[in-house]
C-alpha cells in the first residue's frame, strides 16, 4: 500500500431543502485500503458517495479522485460503483446487460463481452447468459449487479450498502471477492450501517452521524485509542449480584449488563486490576475477566450516543 490518496474530500457540504445532509466532511482514503464509511441510516452515507461520484454536486468543498480534478463520471472506467438502490433492465438478456453497463463505462464491446462471460461463468451463471434478467432469482440478479460493478477491472470500488438484501451465501461470496480484489491492490470504499461487517472487512473506517464525521482512522488505531478500559465480565450467580460494585462511578464509567455477562467500561486512568480486586474482595466468584478491544458498534455508540445511532425518525428518501 502506498500513501497516494485515491479519494480526497475536503470540507464537503450538501444541503437539501429541509436539512443539511452532509456537513463539512473530509475524507482521505489511501490507495489499496479497504475503507468503511459507517453510520446509521440517514447519516449521509449515500449523499457522500453520490458526491464522490459527482452524481450530485457539493454546495461547498472539493473532491479529488486519483489526485485528479476530473469528475467521478469521467473516471467511471476506473471506478466500480454499486449504488444502494440498484436495479436492472428486466427484459434485457444477462450478457447483453453486463456488456452494455461495461460499455457505458468506456470498455470496448468485445472486451466487455469476454470479461462479462468469464465473470458470469465464475459466479455460476453461465447457463443464464442468454436469458432475460426477469428469469433470474433475486440472488442471481444481485450477482449480475455485482459483476457489472467489477467487470471493467476498476482501481477503486465504491459500494453503497453492498450486502443489504443479499442472502448469506451471496454475502460470503461477495466478501471473498471484495477481499481478493483488495489484496490485489484495488482500493475499496464501502458504506454500511452494520458495524460487525465493517469490523471484519475494513482496515480503515470513518464513522459519520447526522451528516458529520465522528471519527476516522485505521481500525487498529481506533480500537487502540478506545480500548484498554473495556472489560468483559462474567460471575457466578449472574452480574446482578455485583450490581452495587458496577454502580461505583469512581471506578466504572459504564456497564452494559447482558445478564450472564457484562461489558464494563472503566473510568479513564483507572486500572482493570482494581476492578478485579474489588470483585474478589466482594466475594464474587469470577468466571470470565477479559480486557477486551471494544467492538466497533460499542465505540460508535459510546461516541455518538445510542440516540444518534438510531435511524432518523423521518428519513427523506429523496435525499438520503
Amino acid at each position: 500500500m502506498d500513501n497516494r490518496l485515491v479519494i480526497e474530500a475536503q470540507g464537503i457540504t450538501k444541503r437539501f431543502a429541509g436539512h443539511t445532509a452532509v456537513r463539512n466532511l473530509s475524507l482521505q482514503i489511501p490507495s489499496g485500503s479497504v475503507y468503511g464509511l459507517l453510520g446509521p441510516n440517514g447519516a449521509g452515507k449515500t449523499t457522500t458517495i453520490r458526491m464522490l461520484m459527482n452524481i450530485i454536486v457539493p454546495d461547498q468543498g472539493r473532491i479529488r479522485l486519483f489526485g485528479l480534478e476530473d469528475s467521478g463520471r469521467d473516471l467511471s472506467h476506473r471506478i466500480g460503483y454499486l449504488p444502494e438502490e440498484r436495479g436492472l433492465y428486466r427484459k434485457m438478456r444477462v450478457l447483453d446487460l453486463v456488456t452494455f453497463l461495461a460499455e457505458a463505462k468506456g470498455v470496448a464491446r468485445r472486451t466487455a463481452r469476454q470479461e462479462g462471460t468469464q465473470w458470469l461463468d465464475r459466479l455460476g451463471l453461465s447457463d443464464w447468459i442468454r436469458k432475460p434478467v426477469s428469469d433470474l432469482s433475486k440472488g442471481m440478479q444481485q450477482k449480475v449487479q455485482f459483476i457489472s460493478t467489477i467487470v471493467h477491472r476498476p482501481e477503486l470500488l465504491i459500494l453503497d450498502e453492498p450486502f443489504s438484501g443479499f442472502d448469506p451465501v451471496n454475502t460470503q461470496l461477495m466478501k471473498d471477492i471484495v477481499l481478493e480484489l483488495g489484496r490485489r491492490g484495488t482500493t475499496v470504499l464501502f458504506s454500511t450501517h452494520i458495524m460487525e461487517q465493517a469490523e471484519k472487512l475494513c482496515d480503515s473506517v470513518c464513522i459519520i452521524a447526522r451528516g458529520e464525521k465522528v471519527l476516522d482512522g485505521r481500525l487498529s488505531d481506533v480500537k487502540r485509542h478506545h480500548g484498554g478500559l473495556h472489560v468483559i465480565l462474567a460471575v457466578e450467580r449472574g452480574v446482578d449480584s455485583v450490581h452495587a460494585l458496577l454502580s461505583d462511578r469512581a471506578l466504572v464509567a459504564k456497564a452494559d449488563n447482558y445478564g450472564s455477562y457484562a461489558e464494563v467500561e472503566l473510568v479513564a486512568g483507572s486500572d482493570p486490576q482494581q476492578l478485579l480486586e474489588a470483585l474478589l474482595r466482594a466475594g464474587a466468584r469470577v468466571r470470565r475477566f477479559e480486557i477486551a478491544e471494544p467492538t466497533l458498534n460499542k465505540i460508535f455508540i459510546d461516541i455518538v450516543g445510542a440516540d444518534a445511532a438510531a435511524p432518523r425518525a423521518e428519513e427523506d428518501r429523496s435525499h438520503a
Partner: protein, 424 residues
C-alpha cells in the same frame, strides 16, 4: 459521443427485439392491405342485393320507368306493385311485415303527387345507409324531372340531352404550375400526413416517457448515472427511440408502396378480379413533401420526446406519468382539433398561425404543405421558430430530467420544478 452511441444502440436493439415492435410492424401492412381490399369487397358485396318494392298509386308509368332505371347493375333492384289509395294501409302493413322478415329491404310509395309537389315516401330497414338513400333519391329526382319535362311538352330528345351530367375535374396549382394531383388527392394526402405525424409523434414520444419511467422505477438509473451524464442518457434515449420510429415508418412506407404497386396481385390473392376501379386512389407523393414531412417529424418528435422525457423523470410510476402527460398531449391535440379548419382553408389566418406556432407547426405545416402552396418564407420562418423552441425545450427538459431521475417520493409542484430548472 461514444457513450451516447452505446445508449442509442441499446435502446434500438432492445426496442426492435421487443414483441410489441414486431407485432405492430407486421400489423401495419395488414391494416394497409385491408384498406386496399375492404372497399372493393364491400362494393362487390353491395352489388344488386338491395331489394325494394315500388308501390304505384297511379302514376301513369312514372313508377314503371323508375323500376326500370333501378335495374341491375345498380345496387338496388325494385319490383313494381300497383295499388289503390284505399288499400294503401293494408298493402303497407303486409310490406312492413316482409321487411321484418328480411324478404325485402324497404318500399317506396309513389303517387302522382311526386310529379306535382315532389312528394314520395320510403320506408325501410336501410334508411341509415347514406349510399342507398343517395342512389334512390338521385334516380327518383331524375325520373320525376324527366316526367315533368315530358308533361310540359318538351321533346324527348331534348330531355335526354338535358340529363347528361356534368363532371368537373379538379387540378391543384402548386408553385405556379398545374399538377397531376386532383383536389381530392391533395386532401387525402394532407389527411394521411396528419394521421402519420400525429400517430408517430405521440406513439414514439410516449415510448420515450415509458423508457424513462422504467429506468426510474427499476432503479437501473442509479447504475447508469454513475457512468453516463444525464444529457448523454437523455440524448441516447431520444435518438434511439426516434431511430426505432424511423425504422418502423420506413418498413411501413415500403410496404404501402409495394402494396400499391402490386395491388392487383393482392386483390387476386383474396379472390377479387381487379376491375379498372381498383380500390382507393393512392395520391402521388412529391419528393419535397416527403422531405418536409420527415423534417417536421424529426423536429416535432424531438420537441415532444424531450417534454415526455421530462414528464417521465418527474413521475414515480407509469400511472403517475400517464396523468402528468396530459398537458403535453393537449399541445399535440390542438392542431388535430383544428385540422378541418386547416384543410378547408390552408391559407387562412388560423392555418398560417398554427403552422408558425412551434408546438403546433410539426403537424400543421406539413398538412398545409400537402394541401396547398406554402410560401417559402413562411416555411423558413416556421422551421426557425420550431428549432428555437426545440433548443429551449431540450434545455429545460434536460435540467428537469437531471434532477428528476434521482428523486423519489411525491411529484414536484410547479414551484419545485422551476427550482430544478434553475439549479446548476
Amino acid at each position: 459521443m461514444r457513450k451516447i452511441w452505446v445508449v442509442v444502440r441499446r435502446e434500438f436493439v432492445e426496442k426492435v427485439r421487443n414483441k410489441w415492435f414486431i407485432i405492430s410492424t407486421v400489423l401495419g401492412p395488414l391494416l394497409m392491405a385491408s384498406f386496399v381490399v375492404l372497399p372493393i369487397l364491400m362494393a362487390e358485396r353491395g352489388g344488386a342485393d338491395r331489394r325494394i318494392v315500388v308501390v304505384d298509386l297511379g302514376t301513369e308509368g312514372l313508377a314503371d320507368r323508375l323500376v326500370r332505371t333501378l335495374r341491375p347493375p345498380g345496387p338496388v333492384s325494385a319490383t313494381l306493385l300497383p295499388a289503390e289509395v284505399a288499400d294503401l294501409t293494408r298493402v303497407a302493413d303486409s310490406l312492413t311485415a316482409l321487411v321484418g322478415v328480411k324478404e325485402i329491404d324497404g318500399y317506396l310509395i309513389i303517387s302522382d303527387e311526386a310529379v306535382e309537389d315532389g312528394m314520395a315516401e320510403y320506408r325501410g330497414s336501410n334508411v341509415s345507409s347514406m349510399a342507398d338513400m343517395q342512389i334512390l333519391e338521385r334516380v327518383l329526382r331524375e325520373t320525376v324531372m324527366t316526367e315533368r319535362l315530358g308533361r310540359a311538352g318538351v321533346d324527348a330528345g331534348v330531355v335526354q340531352q338535358a340529363r347528361i351530367p356534368v363532371r368537373m375535374r379538379t387540378l391543384s396549382i402548386r408553385g405556379g404550375k398545374v399538377t397531376e394531383g386532383s383536389g381530392e388527392s391533395a386532401f387525402i394526402l394532407a389527411y394521411a400526413v396528419w394521421l402519420v405525424l400525429y400517430m408517430a409523434i405521440l406513439l414514439y414520444g410516449v415510448q420515450v416517457m415509458g423508457a424513462v419511467v422504467e429506468e426510474k422505477t427499476s432503479r437501473v438509473i442509479e447504475l447508469l448515472i454513475s457512468s453516463l451524464r444525464p444529457f448523454q442518457l437523455l440524448a441516447g434515449k431520444v435518438v434511439g427511440v426516434g431511430a426505432v420510429g424511423l425504422f418502423q415508418l420506413a418498413i411501413w412506407g415500403v410496404c404501402a408502396w409495394l402494396l400499391f404497386q402490386e395491388r392487383e396481385l393482392v386483390l387476386r390473392l383474396v379472390g377479387i378480379d381487379a376491375g379498372p376501379a381498383g380500390g382507393f386512389a393512392f395520391p402521388a407523393v412529391p419528393l419535397e413533401t416527403i422531405v418536409i414531412v420527415l423534417t417536421y417529424f424529426l423536429l416535432g418528435y424531438f420537441l415532444y420526446a424531450a417534454m415526455f422525457a421530462a414528464v417521465g423523470a418527474m413521475s414515480n410510476s407509469d400511472a403517475e406519468a400517464r396523468q402528468a402527460q396530459t398537458p403535453v398531449i393537449m399541445l399535440l391535440i390542438i392542431p388535430t382539433v383544428l385540422m378541418l379548419g386547416i384543410l378547408q382553408q390552408p391559407d387562412g389566418g388560423m392555418a398560417v398561425s398554427l403552422s408558425l406556432i412551434p408546438f403546433c407547426s410539426p403537424i400543421a405545416m406539413p398538412v398545409r404543405w400537402a394541401a396547398a402552396t406554402v410560401p417559402i418564407e413562411e416555411l423558413a420562418l416556421s422551421i426557425a421558430f420550431l428549432v428555437i423552441a426545440l433548443l429551449l425545450v431540450v434545455w429545460v427538459a434536460a435540467r428537469i430530467y437531471r434532477v428528476g431521475i434521482l428523486m423519489y417520493g411525491k411529484r414536484p409542484s410547479p414551484k419545485e420544478l422551476w427550482r430544478w430548472v434553475r439549479t446548476t
